[in-house]
């Protein structure tokens, strides 16, 4: 009981503390790749700290929904993050839910964000909201399929067991199905974190934005919370990616040996993934909105192949 409480506390702090750093790291690497100096590594922390203090401007047409949605979105994302293992497999909330719950908690956060966007009556918000729900309708099955490929191999949907199983297999699990699954999941990760082939986190151009359009009417503490939630979600998706595909060296629980090594490895993997995200964002252009479904469908096709391979083998 005490250990669970400690785990909950530790993971919460880790999630909300580390998330802005990951965002800063991606931005920094991206800037360096593009021959820019880029913002300081800790810029996201400054922004959140500033936003949380600032006065908010709220539309006169907005209702209580606008004011409560950021807290709900933030809490849903952090709850989802507590189910996904980070540097120890026995995630603090792993006893309460599995990967399906993580995906559906993302869904709850998505709905509240999309509804809050409609609350002020702005056409930008409506545009972001309707796009988010349309694209989300394809992202979620793609994520489900990509995850299923791994779940079928592990015969469970519980994340801690999956992570330990994959970690325990050493090199044996690297097979064609694994390769395809990584690729399928990578596409979904790019989409779920709102990154370039799907959405552009750095733009406020009405033709391209999805997530940013939904936050356009937000300011002050509410905007800070929403941005923070988006960064935490990015970290949670990366955690999911790591614990399903690269959990090597992960420690079993908080009381077990090798925790320090596991933490170091985890941070290293996060940094590598952040670099991957930055490289992909630099290499590719954002695709047109209605070209996104084919892109995600290719991820689904790969996942279906993975599932067929897993069933046949």
């Amino acid at each position: 009981m005490l250990q669970t409480a400690f785990g909950l506390f530790l993971q919460t702090v880790l999630l909300i503390g580390l998330a802005p750093l990951v965002q800063g790291l991606v931005k920094k690497i991206k800037a360096r790749l593009q021959n820019r100096i880029g913002p300081p590594l800790l810029q996201s922390y400054y922004e959140i700290a500033k936003d949380l203090r600032k006065q908010a401007v709220i539309s006169q047409h907005a209702s209580w929904f606008t004011r409560y949605a950021p807290y709900i979105v933030w809490s849903c994302i952090v709850t989802a993050g507590l189910i996904v293992p980070s540097f120890f497999a026995d995630s603090p909330l792993g006893f309460a839910g599995d990967v399906l719950m993580v995906i559906y908690l993302f869904g709850t956060a998505r709905i509240f964000t999309a509804l809050a966007a409609l609350d002020s009556g702005s056409a930008f918000g409506g545009m972001g909201s309707s796009r988010e729900m349309a694209i989300g309708a394809i992202i979620e099955p793609a994520l489900l399929l990509a995850v299923l490929g791994v779940c079928l191999a592990g015969k469970t949907t519980v994340l801690s067991q999956l992570a330990l199983q994959v970690a325990g297999q050493s090199w044996d699990f690297i097979d064609p199905a694994y390769g395809l699954a990584v690729l399928a999941m990578l596409i979904v990760v790019m989409a779920e974190t709102g990154r370039i082939p799907v959405d552009n986190p750095d733009t406020h151009l009405e033709l391209t934005m999805i997530h940013e359009a939904m936050l356009l009417e937000y300011s002050g503490r509410y905007l800070g919370l929403m941005m923070w939630a988006a960064e935490v979600k990015q970290l949670v998706v990366l955690n999911l990616f790591i614990s399903l595909f690269f959990p090597w060296g992960i420690a079993g629980g908080l009381a077990e040996a090798g925790l320090a090594v596991s933490l170091l490895l985890y941070l290293l993997k996060l940094a590598l993934l952040a670099a991957t995200l930055a490289v992909v964002e630099t290499l590719y252009a954002k695709v047109r909105l209605f070209k996104v479904p084919p892109l995600l469908s290719s991820s689904m096709a790969l996942s279906v192949l993975v599932i067929i391979l897993r069933i046949v083998m």
């Binding site: 719950m101 869904g107 009556g121 409506g126 299923l148 069933i311």
Partner: protein, 679 residues
């Protein structure tokens, strides 16, 4: 707890109360208030009695047998409430009680306009017929009750018959429901040929002796018959027409409860009478459910009518239930009784959950209709300020409908996913495994579309600025309507928090069919067979979520002070925000319709009126969807039937001489036939 005698009495009292309620039709139409309170008072008390009976039976795992009187030779009228019947009686009675509370407020709308006694009495007769459908132990009586239910609900759908669209809807409903009854009757008659009696118990003993081809045929007929009544795509066409046409508390009952009687009938026949079947039965049911879940919700995406969208969502949810039933049949065919019990429990859990959230949503849509007199969301907006309670309750129902944690819809969907996951692990064939895995993703897709529909309808109707005068001057609905909705909303939360409690109620049902026990668990845990320590603990997630919510709010307030707010105009690049500048329901669903263009056949028309194309004076924009199922399946069938009718009309030519000739010919033929029999 109640003794057996007590349960029998209570059950009789329930039937009596509904019957008394039916008699309110004789109250003078001049006294609508009295009729309103009387009818709904009886219905409420009847519902409460029904809940007590059902809970007592399910908790004690007992069966109620009531042999009444013989109607004809070999035809005993007997009632039997086993676990399955008791469970469906629970669903019916819960909704009956809640809907009657809501109806007291809602029906006041009809004072001095329509006959309130007729509506109130009809409601009671409808409830009585549904209670009888699940409790009779005889195929003949079942059909009688079934037909009564269909006809009464048809009458209720036609309540506002002076409107054209209502008459069309009623006609399509009555045709489809009789197609359903036809198929069910045919398969019951086929069974009668073997047994010579209509009792379900005799059906049960003889079911093994029926040749395979006939049993398969009966299965298909039952699936078509009950599928049509459940609104399974492609037999759903009556659903989005009839549900919006009926008064809203009736639509709530139809969607939340009446569709479930079809699920009851299917389970009664497939599991109880036939005792399961070959694997392809299960596969067919599963695929029918899958198609219904995905297409049902996709067809609803374009709709701007709140109640029509909810009706399409019912097709989706019934699809999810059929997927669970199909998985249970498959597991039974593969001899995995525990997994079959799990899958059936998931399906029945969803039956209960869907009754709660869909009842809530139809009532909330009814409240909007009551307050604004429109169902078109493009005329609404900003209702969250004027109807805060309705808005909050609609949101809760909608979140449950979109299967989002931590509400009840998620829990049963999760259980269905787990059943499918186990199917993709244990099924012997490659194909079935793949179907199991892909169905999970497809149901996920349906779930997100439902979520999109929620955002569209809640966002357009309740948020931002009102788009019409009606919406701008709406006011909150009467207390009784709020109370009815609130009860169901509380149910949505409780059912999501204590899944183990529902499993405890379902133990009896599953034990009845599979000779196995559901895994015993604490009330707040939904266990999974397969791995021992896996399970869903929605309560823990709730607690963590709530504490994060509280802590984040408190810490921020403590450290940085209250959030300071200035209220300003929405940013619209300098222009003044007009209601017409907001995203409407039509524009909201446009991207997803573009993505699904091939499937829904969206057609866009843009008329620009101007002298000079770059400065339009007026733009007319219309989006129309053509559903391929209706054009490909129903139009040809209807066309063929009409053609056939024209051919037959030659006989009915209005000529007296030819009618006399028919009589003579018929007489001669009859005499000849009689003579033959004699010889």
């Amino acid at each position: 707890m109640l003794g057996e005698q007590g349960i029998v009495w209570l059950f009789a009292v329930m039937l009596g109360l509904y019957a008394c309620g039916t008699l309110t039709v004789f109250v003078s139409a001049e006294k609508p208030r009295a009729a309103n309170w009387l009818a709904h008072g009886f219905a409420f008390c009847g519902g409460v009695c029904g809940v007590a009976v059902a809970l007592a039976l399910l908790w004690q795992k007992s069966t109620l047998n009531l042999s009444l009187w013989p109607v004809a030779a070999g035809l005993n009228l007997s009632l039997r409430l086993d676990g399955l019947a008791a469970f469906f009686l629970l669903v019916i009675s819960l909704l009956a009680a809640v809907v009657s509370i809501y109806a007291i407020g809602y029906v006041s709308e009809y004072y001095d306009k329509k006959s309130v006694p007729l509506l109130g009495g009809g409601l009671n007769l409808f409830l009585l017929s549904m209670a009888l459908v699940v409790s009779v132990d005889n195929a003949f009586a079942f059909l009688l009750a079934w037909e009564l239910m269909s006809l009464v609900s048809f009458g209720l759908v036609m309540f506002e018959h002076e409107r054209d669209d209502v008459r069309t809807a009623g006609f399509i409903y009555v045709v489809m429901t009789h197609v359903a009854t036809l198929f069910i009757t045919l398969s019951f008659l086929a069974l009668y040929l073997f047994t010579g009696t209509f009792a379900f118990s005799d059906f049960r003993t003889i079911a093994g002796a029926i040749p395979d081809w006939l049993r398969n045929l009966m299965f298909v007929m039952l699936l078509v018959g009950f599928g049509a009544k459940a609104g399974i795509v492609p037999l759903h066409i009556w659903l989005p027409r009839a549900h919006p046409a009926a008064p809203s508390h009736i639509s709530a009952l139809m969607s939340a409860v009446m569709l479930k009687t079809a699920v009851y009938g299917l389970l009664r026949m497939l599991f109880d009478v036939f005792g399961g079947g070959p694997a392809w039965w299960g596969l067919l049911v599963l695929l029918a459910g899958l198609v219904s879940a995905v297409l049902g919700i996709i067809y609803g995406l374009a709709d701007n009518d709140m109640k029509r969208f909810l009706a399409y969502s019912s097709a989706e949810n019934l699809g999810v239930i059929f997927v669970g039933i199909g998985a249970a049949l498959l597991f039974q065919a593969y001899a995995y009784p525990e997994l079959a019990a799990l899958a059936l429990a998931a399906a029945l859990y969803h039956v209960l959950n869907h009754a709660f959230f869909k009842g809530l949503l139809f009532m909330a849509a009814g409240s909007v209709l009551y307050a604004t007199h429109t169902r078109n969301i493009n005329d609404l907006g900003g209702l969250i300020r004027r109807m805060p309670v309705t808005a909050a309750l609609f949101l809760i129902g909608g979140l449950a409908m979109a299967a989002l944690p931590p509400l009840n819809g998620f829990v049963s969907e999760w259980a269905t996913f787990q059943a499918l996951f186990q199917l993709s692990l244990t099924a012997p064939g490659f194909g079935v495994k793949l179907v199991g895995a892909l169905t999970i993703a497809a149901l996920g897709l349906a779930g997100v579309f439902a979520a999109g529909g929620l955002v569209k309808h809640f966002g357009t109707a309740f948020l931002a600025m009102p788009r019409s005068e009606k919406a701008a001057h709406a006011s909150e609905v009467p207390f009784s309507m709020q109370a009815g909705m609130a009860l169901l909303a509380v149910g949505c939360v409780v059912l999501g928090l204590f899944p183990g409690l529902v499993l405890r109620l379902l133990e009896d049902v599953c034990g009845l069919f599979f000779h196995t026990q559901l895994p015993q668990a604490a009330f707040f845990l939904l266990p999974v067979s397969g791995s021992a320590d896996a399970g869903l603990l929605p309560g823990a997630a709730w607690i963590v979520l709530a504490s994060l919510l509280g802590i984040s709010g408190l810490i921020l307030r403590q450290w940085l002070g209250r959030s300071r707010i200035t209220v300003e105009e929405t940013w619209t690049c300098g222009a003044l925000l007009q209601p017409s500048m907001q995203y409407s329901g039509t524009s909201f669903s446009n991207p997803v319709l573009v993505i699904l263009q091939r499937l829904v056949g969206t057609r866009r028309e843009v008329d620009i009126h101007s002298h000079y194309p770059y400065y339009p004076r007026r733009i007319r924009h219309a989006v129309d969807t053509r559903y391929s199922i209706e054009t490909l399946l129903y139009r040809p069938t209807v066309g063929f039937t009409v053609k056939l009718a024209h051919k037959i009309r030659v006989v009915q030519n209005g000529n007296l001489q030819s009618y006399l000739a028919y009589v003579v010919v018929a007489l001669v033929l009859a005499l000849l036939w009689m003579g033959q029999v004699k010889v």
